[in-house]
């Protein structure tokens, strides 16, 4: 699997947002606050690999993707693309790079211009990047549409978004990303707005693109989708990756108490697999006030049940921030008890 240099290497990434105090807060000289959206995240994506970043809203998964794409600037850490450090590249220097990493958005009802025909939508990135003659551009548009499963392309070129189904719209959005022939796709919740019956076809399309050698970073809140389609899963909690490993290992043998709780609350397809959900107590995680010690300890079932104390670990959970440790081949968790 190790091909040097890796497509994407992210190391100790930290991204924070200032929290507006408002005029009253400023006059009252309240301390400036920041939201710790991403607090030291590291991962890699190889060519032909799909990594799923999974977590609840506010865990920092989208900010991570935006920082990787250099849409948001990190406070510290590095992002390497094909070995090149791109963390501090300027706007102009980024341009050729943007061609090689493309983003697919969540909502194909919002991301396509309703007044653009499919041809114009898919051609636009080529115009922005001044690529190809008019003839070459139309060939590339056709090829991208067919690669995205809209074949024959002639049938779709002159349609408007409203003449397409939800699945076809998302395929057009994917074709728009593919037309630049990128090496990395970042897909932010690519199927959550689609009907159940067409989700599978979009996921299968992403899977076939991965097989053809693209690296894919998929952002999703749906552990079932990640388990089925990703090679590896990274579970995020409050700006950190708390567990990462091969998709099946993370789901079948979760090592972090947060992952374990998450798995019990995912509704299973088979009514016989009904589980008693382990609903986490305590306040919803707040990235402005991150707990000391293990950031999960205030909600951790191991701490609440006293199991951490029995093992003499409670002090550590409250006081010491756990780092990711490898527990099995390629399977890491950030938990003192694991």
């Amino acid at each position: 699997m190790i091909t040097a240099p890796l497509l994407l290497e992210v190391q100790d990434l930290v991204t924070r947002y200032p929290v507006p105090r408002g005029i009253v807060g400023a006059l009252a000289r309240r301390p400036k606050e920041v939201a710790h959206a991403v607090e030291g995240v590291s991962f890699t994506v190889g060519a032909g690999e799909m990594l799923a970043l999974v977590g609840e809203s506010g865990c920092g998964k989208t900010t991570t993707a935006q920082t990787v794409m250099r849409l948001v600037d990190p406070v510290s850490g590095t992002v390497r693309f094909r070995g090149e450090d791109i963390t501090h590249l300027r706007h102009r220097e980024l341009r050729p790079l943007r061609r090689r990493m493309q983003l697919i958005y969540q909502d194909p009802y919002d991301s396509l211009d309703p007044r653009f025909r499919v041809r114009q939508t898919v051609e636009e990135p080529l115009l922005v990047h001044h690529l190809g003659s008019s003839h070459e551009r139309s060939e590339r548009v056709t090829r991208a549409l067919e690669r995205a499963g809209l074949a024959p392309a002639d049938l779709f070129l002159d349609r408007f978004p409203h003449e397409l189904s939800g699945g076809q719209r998302q395929r057009v959005a994917i074709a728009t990303a593919l037309v630049l022939e990128p090496e990395l796709l970042v897909a932010d919740e690519p199927v959550s707005m689609l009907d159940v019956s067409v989700r599978a076809e979009i996921l299968t399309l992403l899977d076939s693109l991965r097989r053809s050698g693209l690296g894919i970073l998929m952002i999703t809140h749906d552990l079932s989708t990640a388990a089925r389609f990703a090679d590896r899963i990274a579970v995020m909690y409050l700006g950190r990756i708390v567990e990462e490993g091969p998709a099946q290992a993370v789901v079948q043998d979760p090592r972090h108490p947060y992952t374990r709780a998450l798995i019990t609350v995912v509704p299973k397809r088979d009514p016989r697999d009904r589980t008693t959900p382990e609903i986490l107590k305590g306040e919803a995680p707040n990235p402005v006030h991150v707990p000391t010690g293990c950031r999960f300890h205030p909600r951790c079932p191991e701490v609440a049940s006293g199991r951490a104390r029995e093992r003499g670990m409670e002090e550590r959970c409250r006081g010491e921030d756990p780092m990711l440790r490898e527990l099995a081949a390629g399977h890491e968790a950030a938990c003192h008890l694991a």
Partner: protein, 327 residues
């Protein structure tokens, strides 16, 4: 369920919308089901299958452009015998609904407690101090401290607002609760909390629940029984376990196999094609063009609902020996 007969019976419910140019869109094309006390039933289908329209019709809350026919019986009494006049005493008092996106439907400049008290005063259930105490009790019931009752909606998280919306639907002590996509847009942890709450309410208060959703695993996890809708009709209904393990309509089977499972068993396959337009007459079985098992009669003969097992029925020619032997 307990010999006293069903609480809610829906018989031959049709809903159609008048479109420009004299055309009609038949959103719900004759559905029948019943619901016993304390029972939890899932109404499942993709967008546009008519599931929301069906429950709006049961509540008598259809928009003016819609017309409805059929019967909705509550304890054996026809709720719509005299139209709006006969349904008004029952709406919210006997049968209540949590709307899709209800958590975003609170008035942002009024306190939560005042918004829960409003339906009670309107329906003369309670008023003044008694109503406020009752609102506090309802909030406690859904897991929100009564001390927080006088907060404004923006002070609540999404999950809390959704639970407050459920408390509001329960304000007049209904026997039947219709919940339309009650957990869409919520995180899994909060989704589990809301589903536990709904299940708890059916156990503790004997409330009957119709859970409308596109998400099969939610139904598998929560409901005893489910009805699968396609193009305005119930194509299969039965115990959730039977629907998953022995589906008797290809759509049910395909819908399950299009849903990824956490443990990754089996392929995930999408269903080709799109549902038919409902503003035109559909000949034969509406699912036939997308069906992987369609045979001779399917494109031309409308299938009837046939019983296939106790409490389990499906609308598919494959279950009809006469059709199979004829072709």
């Amino acid at each position: 369920m307990n010999g006293s007969g069903p609480l809610l019976e829906v018989q031959g419910l049709h809903v159609w919308f008048d479109l420009a140019g004299g055309r009609e869109l038949h959103a719900v094309q004759g559905i029948d089901f019943d619901l016993g006390p304390g029972e939890r039933m899932g109404l499942v289908g993709e967008s546009g299958c008519g599931k929301t329209t069906a429950i709006l019709a049961i509540m008598g809350l259809l928009p003016p452009s819609a017309s409805a026919a059929g019967h909705v019986l509550l304890n054996g009494m026809d709720m719509y015998e005299a139209g709006e006049d006969s349904v008004r005493p029952h709406r919210w008092r006997d049968i209540a609904m949590v709307f899709q996106g209800a958590m975003n439907a609170f008035n942002p400049v009024r306190r939560i407690v005042d918004q829960i008290v409003e339906p009670m005063e309107l329906h003369e259930i309670a008023e003044g101090r008694a109503a406020r105490v009752r609102a506090g009790d309802l909030l406690e019931l859904v897991g929100i401290s009564a001390r927080q009752a006088s907060r404004y909606p923006h002070e609540f998280s999404g999950g809390m607002r959704q639970r407050a919306a459920i408390a509001m639907a329960l304000a007049c002590g209904p026997k039947v609760l219709l919940a339309d996509e009650p957990t869409t847009a919520l995180d899994v942890m909060i989704q589990a909390q809301v589903l536990e709450l709904l299940t708890g309410l059916t156990r503790e208060l004997g409330l009957s629940l119709i859970l409308v959703t596109h998400d099969l695993p939610i139904v598998a996890q929560t409901c005893d029984r489910a009805a699968v809708m396609y193009a305005g009709k119930i194509v299969e209904s039965g115990p959730t376990e039977d629907l998953f393990h022995t589906p008797r309509h290809p759509y049910t089977r395909l819908l399950f196999s299009a849903t990824p499972d956490l443990y990754g068993r089996g392929e995930v396959i999408s269903i080709p094609g799109t549902p038919p337009r409902l503003d035109r007459e559909v000949l034969g079985c509406a699912f036939a063009p997308r069906c992987d098992m369609a045979f001779e009669p399917c494109p031309s003969v409308v299938p009837r609902t046939l019983p296939v097992a106790p409490g389990h029925g499906a609308r598919c020619h494959l279950n009809d020996p006469a059709m199979r032997s004829a072709s």
